[in-house]
């Protein structure tokens, strides 16, 4: 198996009058782990399905490696898809499920069973070859689905929210497993998720989508430390979005410096605010602040290291000035205010 790059050029998808994906451009380098991240309805799954060939793009070009694949059926694209509900065939045992692809391509029985067995051992499921999907746990079904997707030796593996049906403990385990496989096999993974944590943990390239557009496509550290838009700052979490005279800024919650407000502090930058809640979190203390000037932000958070807080504690009701170093403030491209984007609680499952 060898990875292939995936390139989208001005790709759009329309359903009647509704625009699900709006002229996006994206280049995923070969052999990389890419996460499409965004709230539901942002077009990430549609994008994945267009790459897979289960949806036809209304406009634009899709390239896998050097080939334009827009007109090809899924099996001819060198991609394989792992479905959200795994979509294992309930009437076939694990071995036959994995051997399904080779069987459809006319591979002889002995060869396809041997290949299927190899794939099952790759995902450590060789002991369950004779079981029906209904006799497996969610995590086991997931591994079988992965084996089935890999048996056709794809150069690009497409995963549609592969971890969403698992419980949190298993999710972390399977996440590590996915990363291990991707590194071992060296093929390109494109993974759709609405969990920023998952995207951070896995990807080489995070593509944050909203409303059918790509808000930012960059390595995870860059997305987290330098969000380009208000949406990204809010969606990734850990950022305050503050309106300033020159446009909106994003400042990381853990880079906020608090000091008691001095009335004679005129001329210095900063955001005067009242402390609303104080929550001790172990290594840090989380403070929710209500800025006195609500036009700049309705609420901001500050994560203060516990020793710093102990040296200079604040109580609910105190008025403080929140400051940040010059380099910690990142101007946002769209100047979008927090009120325009859905709150994280609404996005999380």
């Amino acid at each position: 198996m060898r990875g292939a790059s995936v390139e989208l050029i001005q790709v759009s998808k329309r359903y009647g009058a509704a625009l699900a994906v709006d002229a996006i451009d994206l280049k995923v380098p070969e052999g990389s782990y890419c996460c499409l991240l965004g709230p539901s309805g942002c077009g990430k799954t549609t994008t994945l399905r267009m790459i897979a060939g289960h949806e036809t793009a209304s406009d634009g070009n899709i390239l896998i490696g050097p080939r334009e694949v827009g007109h090809l059926p899924p099996a001819a694209r060198g991609t394989a898809m792992m479905f959200q509900s795994y979509a294992l065939f309930p009437h076939l045992d694990c071995l036959d499920n994995v051997a399904f692809g080779p069987r459809m391509r006319g591979v002889d029985r002995a060869t396809r069973r041997r290949r299927a067995m190899e794939m099952l051992s790759l995902v450590r499921m060789e002991g369950f070859a004779g079981r029906l999907p209904a006799q497996l746990s969610g995590g086991q079904q997931q591994r079988v689905a992965l084996a089935r997707a890999l048996v056709t030796e794809p150069s690009v593996l497409l995963l549609d929210e592969p971890l969403s049906a698992l419980d949190p403990f298993l999710r972390v385990q399977v996440r590590a497993e996915l990363k291990r496989l991707q590194t071992e096999l060296g093929i390109t993974f494109i993974h759709v998720t609405h969990s920023q944590e998952e995207a951070m943990a896995l990807s080489d390239l995070v593509v944050v989508m909203n409303g059918g557009r790509i808000e930012q496509a960059a390595p995870p550290r860059e997305v987290f430390s330098r969000p380009e838009t208000g949406f990204v700052a809010r969606f990734i979490g850990g950022h305050n979005v503050i309106a300033m005279p020159g446009g909106s800024l994003a400042v990381r919650v853990d880079r906020m410096r608090l000091s008691p407000r001095l009335v004679d502090a005129a001329g210095e930058g900063g955001l005067p605010a009242r402390v609303e809640t104080v929550e001790y979190q172990g290594s840090f203390v989380q403070l929710r602040l209500a800025p006195l000037d609500t036009a700049r932000a309705t609420e901001v958070f500050a994560a203060v290291p516990d020793d710093v807080f102990a040296a200079q504690p604040f109580a609910v009701g105190d008025v403080v000035t929140a400051r940040w170093a010059e380099g910690e403030a990142h101007p946002l491209r769209d100047g979008q205010l927090p009120a325009d984007v859905p709150a994280l609680e609404e996005i999380a499952p």
């Binding site: 899924p74 394989a80 479905f83 509900s85 979509a87 065939f89 399904f100 692809g101 391509r105």
Partner: protein, 306 residues
């Protein structure tokens, strides 16, 4: 029923025997109907099949002479067929033809409804159209074929008008063709509904997964859709086969009273008041139909699917 749930649950913990009596009471009305109108007549039929009869009387007895009469000379005459064997063969042939036609049609229509009709209101509307044959009585439905298929019927006139034939086609009515046609017209729905039910339960992502794995349309149909529809196919087949095996009205009317079927034989014997031999024939038919159902259920565990 309302408010009954909680006490029953409590009883289940406290006094299991009372709960089981409650369940028996709930099952009782249907059990009584079933007993009175199905089990008792069936037992009577079996009992009467062992009675002795002559031209003037029926006498309670335990004799196998009716069964001997049913199969009279059947073994001796082989390889040429006795009347009973020939009749069963003809009935089986009709059952088979009706089964193949209803299966192909029923599967096709169910497939169209389940996979090609996108909206539920449209599915409902088309489903209602499929039930149109049941909006009128069986007899009227069959009589209605006469002006259509008769010697001077619409079909013959139409064919002659376009020059497809020079003389009226005789095999359109009162023939094997018309019998099978009537069966298909009547019973396709019985095949279609259970198959549709099975298809509606197929997760659409399975079809996509098959396509993703490189399966063509036919391969997907053969390797994914049909195996997952097996329970529906078996249930539909049981409906069609049992109805057609016992039918005598459709074969009588649409066959112009010229075609033998085992149901027809039983009906004629009853009209001559030869109840014991009619009963013996009925018991044999019942046995054969039960064997067919047993064989079908060997193929699929339908109890798991219901």
């Amino acid at each position: 029923m309302d408010g009954g749930g909680a006490p029953v649950m409590v009883d289940a913990v406290r006094a299991a025997p009372r709960r089981s009596w409650g369940a028996y009471w709930q099952a009782a009305p249907f059990a009584i109907v079933f007993l009175l109108f199905f089990i008792v007549p069936l037992c009577l039929t079996v009992a009467v099949s062992f009675w002795h009869y002559d031209e003037y009387s029926l006498q309670p007895a335990f004799t196998l002479e009716n069964y001997e009469e049913v199969f009279d000379g059947c073994i001796a005459k082989l390889p040429s067929l006795c009347v009973t064997f020939a009749t069963y063969l003809s009935t089986l042939r009709f059952a088979l033809m009706a089964w193949v036609c209803t299966l192909v049609l029923g599967f096709g229509i169910a497939y169209f409804l389940a996979f090609h009709v996108r909206t539920v209101p449209m599915q409902m509307a088309l489903f209602l159209i499929c039930t149109v044959p049941f909006w009128t009585s069986n007899i009227i439905r069959m009589v209605a074929w006469v002006p259509l298929l008769g010697r001077n019927g619409l079909v013959n006139q139409g064919l002659q008008a376009v020059g497809a034939t020079s003389a009226p086609l005789d095999w359109l009515l009162y023939s094997e063709f018309s019998v099978v046609l009537a069966f298909v017209h009547l019973y396709t729905l019985f095949m279609m509904v259970p198959i549709f039910n099975s298809m509606a339960r197929i997760d659409r992502s399975l079809i996509e997964a098959a396509r993703d794995a490189g399966a063509s349309g036919w391969q997907t149909l053969w390797s994914v859709v049909i195996p997952l529809c097996k329970p529906g196919i078996v249930i539909g087949s049981i409906f069609v086969l049992t109805i057609v095996m016992g039918d005598f009205v459709t074969v009588g009317i649409m066959g112009g009273q010229q075609i033998a079927s085992i149901g027809k034989v039983i009906q004629v014997q009853m009209s001559y008041l030869q109840f014991p031999i009619a009963a013996a024939n009925a018991v044999v038919l019942l046995g054969i139909v039960l064997l067919m159902i047993w064989a079908l259920t060997r193929l699929v565990d339908i109890r798991r699917e219901l």
